[in-house]
């Protein structure tokens, strides 16, 4: 069974990681893939265990994720933000990293987290992939991510 992929561009008013996570949750909520508490759980988790990652070129990507219990159907919501927002850095919660991209993972099973994280981490090391995230039209990016993450 495939994981549903949502791809959206952020709105100009998003300036905090909380707002970015809420925005990322909207399409999944609309598709009835998550319970309404999911995004709040991601935000809470983000405070305790931030998910901002610093890539080789210093660029930031955040991968907020939440409790599998709050997920009905596994999905991943990618958001290309118009302007970067500050996330805590995974390796050190005291530090911040500006993130332009965010993958909100709503996965119903633990082993899906493992598979998807592994795939994402490999992809994040590819310059070409990062360029695709930044530049591809949203419909093309959706099918691109469908193929690469499933």
């Amino acid at each position: 069974m495939g994981i549903k992929i949502f791809v959206n561009e952020g709105t100009p008013d998003i300036s905090t990681y909380q707002a970015a996570i809420k925005f990322a949750g909207l399409p999944m909520l609309k598709a009835n893939g998550i319970y309404s508490q999911f995004s709040q759980a991601c935000i809470k988790r983000e405070k305790q265990f931030p998910t901002g990652l610093k890539l080789a070129d210093g660029m930031g990507i955040a991968i907020p994720h939440g409790d599998s219990n709050l997920v009905k159907v596994s999905g991943i919501s990618f958001v290309r933000l118009l302007k970067p927002v500050s996330f805590g850095l995974m390796e050190d919660a005291q530090q911040q990293i500006d993130c332009k991209f965010l993958f909100n993972l709503a996965l119903a099973k633990g082993d899906e987290h493992l598979t998807i994280l592994r795939k994402l981490m490999k992809l994040f090391q590819s310059k070409e992939f990062i360029q695709d995230l930044a530049e591809l039209p949203l419909d093309l990016l959706t099918s691109n991510l469908q193929t690469k993450l499933n």
Binding site: L53, K54, E91, A93, Q94, G110, H113, M121, K122
Partner: protein, 94 residues
Amino acid sequence: MKKVLVVCGNGIASSSIMLAGLKDYLDEQGVKADLDKASLMDCTDDTFNSKDLIVSSTKLNRPGVKTPVIVGSALLTGIGEDEVLKQIKDELTK
């Protein structure tokens, strides 16, 4: 054999990936260690202190933890991985 605990936020995904990478490396280097993974939230200071080394996805802010801690998020992202692996090996073979 030295006991290594690999930890992340909920002990499911990140720690598994870090552990797999670490295991491959240590096997290849011929370093034997007893590897285990856990959730940061489930670990008490005693759990940490019963190990010889902690490899954590994030900086630990736990003054009660006396065991050396190496931040191993590089094992997840692959960025700076070689350095971190070397650091772990040095800690295990000293």
